[in-house]
């Protein structure tokens, strides 16, 4: 296909290109992705050529400069058909997001263009760090200074969209200094990739266990040094969280389709279910409008953390309700492995457990509310 022309693109034409790839190339693979763990590498490259990971990347780095809201829309368009591939699109575009905002130019210049175009596939291994920073778990990668760079050891249980010729973007604690965030080619000396125990869904995301033993990280691989990390994580986190909304919106759209198709045959009984299509669609539209607002604020550095987290939580909850309603509308046939409703349910649960998980969001929101209450009382 013809590569997109960065300077003349518009959100609608990007979405149309993505839709065409989804309908013709991705839709036939959804069964293999879900049930055989097929990793849709070629589809990712085609999506990259179409600009699907570059919506929020500036023209100066070959991106479309259409904004984070458009990137959310792209991920949603993919998720309408396949939640697993929507997650891969999130991984890829979020790595581009990290690189775009990298505090150090060399790593950005080296990787951003290739990641944004989908030529270099990339996984984000930031789940552990984000949970660690929220007081949920220990950090698993440890670094020590070495000349101008670092030496890193440890393991991350599961990182998606990685492989021997992929890039991973991860973070490690640096003794008493804080954290360093860096890019590392997955075939770098000291990096080992191992299979994970089988998941109940999302098996086509090439999610692997990554282990590091004395991996040397040169300065030109560093996105943020310890003294830059606090500002950096505050900059990237809203985009990290908000782009995940696309996965939820896509699964909700797919679930609404199942509900409407099911009603063709059994609306006379489906009307007794709690979550009807019109109600779900109305709630989803409200979340999408809020997502557009928050994405705009995030790009201007003006998003409020608690609003972003509340929106992400609401999207998780609605995605669960929509997917459950879809299978209840479908009835017994929705329980067949060939029916999308059961896959949607597993994908929806993923949206609620991927970092930041539903429980994580509630914990962080609670902490922020408590802090606000203390500030008001003082």
């Amino acid at each position: 296909m013809t590569r997109y022309t960065a300077a003349t693109d518009a959100p609608a034409s990007l979405i149309e290109r993505v839709r065409s790839i989804v309908d013709t190339q991705l839709a036939p693979l959804t069964g293999a992705i879900d049930q055989e763990g097929f990793y849709p590498r070629d589809v990712l490259h085609r999506l990259g050529e179409a600009g699907a990971f570059a919506a929020a990347v500036p023209h100066t780095h070959g991106g479309l400069e259409l904004g984070l809201a458009t990137q959310i829309g792209v991920i949603s368009e993919i998720g309408r058909e396949c939640g697993s591939t929507a997650f891969l699109a999130w991984c890829q575009s979020t790595c581009a997001h990290y690189l775009r905002h990298a505090m150090n130019a060399p790593v950005r210049e080296q990787y951003l263009g290739a990641v944004a175009r989908g030529e270099l596939l990339a996984g984000t291994g930031m789940s552990n760090t984000v949970k660690h920073l929220a007081g949920i778990e220990n950090i698993h990668l440890k670094a020590r200074r070495d000349a101008q760079g670092y030496v890193v050891s440890g393991a991350l249980p599961w990182v998606s969209n990685i492989g021997p010729d992929h890039l991973a973007v991860v973070a490690a604690s640096v003794e008493d200094e804080g954290y360093v965030m860096f890019a590392v080619p997955c075939d770098a000396p000291g990096v080992t990739l191992r299979p994970c125990p089988e998941f109940s869904g999302m098996e086509g995301t090439q999610t692997l266990n990554i282990r590091m033993k004395d991996v040397r990280i040169a300065p030109d691989q560093v996105l943020a040094h310890p003294e830059q990390f606090a500002d950096y994580i505050a900059t990237i986190k809203p985009g990290f969280v908000l782009a995940q909304l696309g996965m939820g919106f896509g699964i909700i759209d797919g679930s609404l389709r199942t509900i409407r198709e099911s009603n063709v045959a059994t609306s006379h009984v489906n009307r007794f279910l709690d979550d009807q299509a019109d109600d779900l669609a109305r709630e989803a539209a409200a979340l999408r409008a809020n997502a557009e607002r928050q994405a705009g604020l995030a790009e201007r550095g003006a998003a409020t953390q608690i609003d972003v987290l509340r929106l992400r939580l609401a999207a998780s909850e609605l995605t669960l309700r929509a997917a459950q309603s879809a299978i209840l509308h479908a009835g017994a046939k929705g329980y067949l492995m060939r029916h999308p409703a059961q896959r949607r349910l597993r994908e929806a649960v993923f949206v609620a457990i991927v970092t930041p998980a539903l429980k994580h969001l509630r914990k962080e929101i609670h902490a922020l509310e408590q802090a606000d209450a203390r500030a008001e009382a003082a």
Partner: protein, 55 residues
């Protein structure tokens, strides 16, 4: 008394009575007696990320 330890990140269970003969850990090996650099065979985290399960 045999005890079970759970890996926090991935949920893998280390059962002291069973050990892990396939990984060179004899049945009956207490968790405390595993090498300090022992790693979860499924996800690679260290002993500090394991939790003793209640009986």
């Amino acid at each position: 008394m045999s005890r079970q330890w759970m890996c926090g990140p991935c949920g893998m269970i280390y059962d002291e009575s069973a050990g892990m003969p396939e990984h060179g850990i004899a049945p009956g090996t207490r968790f405390e007696d595993l090498p300090d650099d022992w790693e979860c065979p499924d996800c690679g985290v260290g002993k500090a990320d394991f939790y003793l399960l209640p009986e």
